[in-house]
Symmetry: C2
Subunit: 207 residues, 2 copies
């Protein structure tokens, strides 16, 4: 229950090993899909030891969430800052976002589940999304200032659409493959990125 800020946990300490084991399991199976028995076995320690370091299952889970959050945010802060035209910027952003989603797919899924679960704290998830979001918006605002993009649209909007498309692609890649009406282009990351940017930049107006 107590969500007090915890001393930093060294990854090579025993507590760190338990935390890492818990992250693997929670990422794969969600909160209720994991038992403290499994965590102990995965970490190679006794169950009582897990309870010694983290007072309860809930506390352990929250600690995992906090940990994953750092990993997710620290990565994307460096991207989308390279100069270039809108098209190039959007392409890089989409590529980085997709790479990011698939690289940390397990952790991303953990967060998405957290978003869907009712009654959980959305502020934590908002922090994760918010950081990357702000970075991308700033990047597009630069393009607006350079006259490379319409200024009558809030930069946050295309960012949201771009992120939405990437997230949707990530979430439903496996499902889209089962839908005959879906263009094969919508299942290939590279073609997807190219088409997405083209759509965002040029719209659907006939040429």
């Amino acid at each position: 229950m107590k969500s007090a800020p915890r001393q930093d946990i060294h990854p090579d300490s025993r507590a760190g090993e338990i935390l890492a084991a818990a992250e693997r399991l929670f990422c794969r199976n969600g909160y209720q899909g994991v038992s403290m028995n499994e965590v102990a076995r995965e970490a190679g320690v006794s169950k009582a030891n897990v309870f010694h370091h983290f007072g309860s299952k809930e506390e352990l889970y929250l600690e995992v969430i906090r940990n994953v959050r750092s990993a997710l945010t620290s990565e994307i802060m460096a991207i989308a800052q390279a100069p270039g035209g809108v098209e190039q910027t959007l392409t890089q952003v989409a590529e980085a976002e997709l790479r990011h989603l698939f690289q940390y797919s397990d952790q991303v899924r953990l967060f998405m589940r957290e978003c869907l679960e009712p009654g959980r704290d959305k502020a934590l998830a908002a922090k994760v999304f918010g950081n990357t979001f702000a970075e991308l918006v700033a990047s597009l605002s630069g393009a607006q200032e350079r006259g490379e993009m319409r200024t009558d649209v809030n930069a946050s909007f295309p960012v949201m659409v771009l992120v939405a498309a990437c997230v949707f692609f990530f979430q439903h890649a496996e499902i889209l493959r089962h839908i005959p009406e879906a263009d094969p282009a919508t299942t290939n990351p590279d073609i997807f990125t190219r088409e997405l940017v083209r759509l965002l930049v040029h719209g659907l107006r006939p040429a």
Copy 2:
């Protein structure tokens, strides 16, 4: 285990009441977040009775999924068939999709969780998405044939982006409100629809 096609269950039968109770609970808390004890209590019957009608928890869950699927697909098949320009069609589609998502939010969330859960059957979810997807693609293809839309883009792509944006909006509405960089426009369904369609139709090119 046996997923054999079941005789239709009358909603006003006892089995129907149990099914409805199970749907409410599974929608709210997911598969592992619900116990057969709770289902029995929610339905106002004994636990043994639940096991009598549905042989196991897994079977009950699958029956709920099948039931929800019918509800979700039968609704959206009637939309997006009204004639009109691309802009109008996209607007109607987006509005209908959003209305649909929020109206059946609990059931939609159930399906989204099902997509995130590893090792589950994606074919079922694909059927739900696939039906609505095909309808929307057909609608846009008509616009292409009438020369109202670029033909060098597969109609399924903008549909996917449109759906992605709507789903993202639905999934993250609560979270977006916590992000200061997000435009207020991205939290209002009507403004969101208008901006989305404008972006899709006209793109980001400076005027």
